[in-house]
Symmetry: C2
Amino acid sequence: MGAGLVGSLLTLYLARRGHPVQVFERLADPRKQGLAGGRSINLALSDRGWKALAGVGVADDIRQVGIPMYRRVMHDGQSNLTFQPYGQDNQAIYSVNRGSLNCALLDLAEAAPNVRISFGQKLTRLDLPGRRLHLQDAATGEEHDVPYERLFGADGAFSAVRAALQRTDRTDYSQQYLEYGYKELTIAAGPDGSWQLEKNALHIWPRGNFLMIALPNLDGSFNATLFFPYEGDNSFAALRAPTDVATFFQATFPDAVPLMPQLTEEFFDHPTGSLVTIRCWPWVYHDTVLLLGDAAHAIVPFYGQGMNAGFEDCTVLNQLLAQHGEADWAHVMAEFARQRKPNTDAMADLALYNFVEMRDRVADPRFLLQKRIESKIAAQFPGQWVPLYSRVTFSPDTSYAEAWAAGQRQEAIMQRVMPLIETEADYESAAVQTLVRESL
Amino acid sequence: MGAGLVGSLLTLYLARRGHPVQVFERLADPRKQGLAGGRSINLALSDRGWKALAGVGVADDIRQVGIPMYRRVMHDGQSNLTFQPYGQDNQAIYSVNRGSLNCALLDLAEAAPNVRISFGQKLTRLDLPGRRLHLQDAATGEEHDVPYERLFGADGAFSAVRAALQRTDRTDYSQQYLEYGYKELTIAAGPDGSWQLEKNALHIWPRGNFLMIALPNLDGSFNATLFFPYEGDNSFAALRAPTDVATFFQATFPDAVPLMPQLTEEFFDHPTGSLVTIRCWPWVYHDTVLLLGDAAHAIVPFYGQGMNAGFEDCTVLNQLLAQHGEADWAHVMAEFARQRKPNTDAMADLALYNFVEMRDRVADPRFLLQKRIESKIAAQFPGQWVPLYSRVTFSPDTSYAEAWAAGQRQEAIMQRVMPLIETEADYESAAVQTLVRESL
């Protein structure tokens, strides 16, 4: 159930293992309506996502339409820029258009043998003991009834498959919203199709309790997203008229405003999105139903890991099938859930943590100094010290839970190191060197 | 919506303020089927509950059918007993039968002017903007449609009113189950209707990772409840046949088994209940809908505070109405939710915490010694040191959140005091006296 990013990649994996796959998707085929119907949001594809795409041999195809982003560029209120590399050397995260990526994966999945994808199919009822889907066709309104052997719920944060699992006894569930919404806006391409901000970067306008970000598109434009409180002094509730928006943006994002000619129209035409973290348990019903992707673990977008975590689900399920075969699905499904749950829980925490980092800490010179000191430690003790961001983003063989635990250990060390440091040069002092060596 | 304990008490409060009240209850009238239809569970009524009952002048009526319990009696595996008083002097919690209490409150509510209670009315759909309930009559199957001015959702842990609120945007929600279920069992009355265990006590059989408790009834019997893991070595899953149950109980609860002649029948006839904590937010829809009781904050039963917390909701709402009047319901509802949420969240944590205390810590001589030392501190510094249990149970003017915070401060002090203590007499030592004085 679900032909989004995770559903179509999972279909490819299952088809490669020789399974016939029937995919049902509630929405219409995004390839038939251009990209306008899909969400125009950009995603940051990183190493866990690449690993999953490489597992079915499609990473190179996708890389053609991605734009590498090597660093964060921070824009302050006086239009000054500061910079923070994401990793070492050529390490980058990739800006990809969600709609294009989904369409590419759908084309690949549909070309695989024994795959059928049906769009406009809403799951109205799920008979778990009887293994039957009750679907309603969006075009005709007719209901039909489909038996299944195994059902994979990859139907997103508001999963209908999960809703059916929740109606069984003793299912843990939580949905927690941030008191922030988001608004997608456009930074225009230059007249010649050029990028009007540094192309190969993720741009951040950190403003304490809110922020704007922008990711590059292939056509020279950037997709900007304002993450902003629903209520309060600076909030969606406070910006009621076009002049409120223009005044606020001019004062707050002075370097961006000249590049956003449609700002006020977009601000009121585009919906305000909400930001939710969803946790649930179990992910499995006997040996017949398994939840994956956002259906099992929707997170906020601030670490750029939502899609990557869903893609990693496919990698892990494929590994378990390679190891145990298809003879004992109950074991494979239970083991998948057991392995993944602590990791996706850790990723949910990391994503919430990074919201504070992106909107606030990256504007603090002391924070940026700390990051430079950490780079020095990483260079001096390769393998022993890996920055948290690199563990999450560039270390696909380290689990999210291990990354988070190691990151917390390192942060505790930095809490002792930083009081000894005024400038980068202080890193060479005997006191700091001794403390770092003894802490590792 | 809901004519359970909180719904009927709230009705009394609203009627006393002159409001016409129409109550709809999904289940049948418990007074028309004897008590068999209702749950036979006993509840521990304590000071917050008494305060709420006194607020509508019905505390004395109810006290007639309650049995005071002055202490915990712990039964170990060799049938030895130890004792822990709940409070000072005559402080007690009261064992009351849920069904009897509910029937008494329904009689009182129905006798109030302008109150109508309709049973067998299932809420099938709630039109929040249109202020209309869609109800289905259990007897006839017919649906009807009722407009409302204000709606109070007192319809329990699986509230239909809350489910409708959850379908609006940005509602936080969580349900967390324990990996334990409960089974209600009976300790029989003696042949002459006498109590075969100490009458005025709550009995506990703490067994490390599980426990049984028993509360007295007026007829000489006790209602016992086994709280037990669903899975594992000692678990519901492991006890499959009557002989398994008999063998396990004989080995584990040797002093109780002779008093439980219907043990094996009841064990398999009675359903296994699950234990859930439910949190949600918001509790309010504009100025028209408010959640109270378990619908807003269902908790596990281990502090005996579920009903008391729901009754305290009625006290707080009534105070706010007394203070602000009915002119601005939006403010009263918002203020109610704002005041209550941190307190019911604290109570949810306390209830989970007390599960560990009841099943495990009360069997530890060091824990009981610590409680005796705390009593000495409380006696020496009256007002400055109040045991956590007393703050929660016997201090209805202290909020749950304040009780929990003070309890944690005191526990931190005890963590420093107890290493200095081997016997009760050590409390008098200079070191302990100094430490306690300086900590307070």
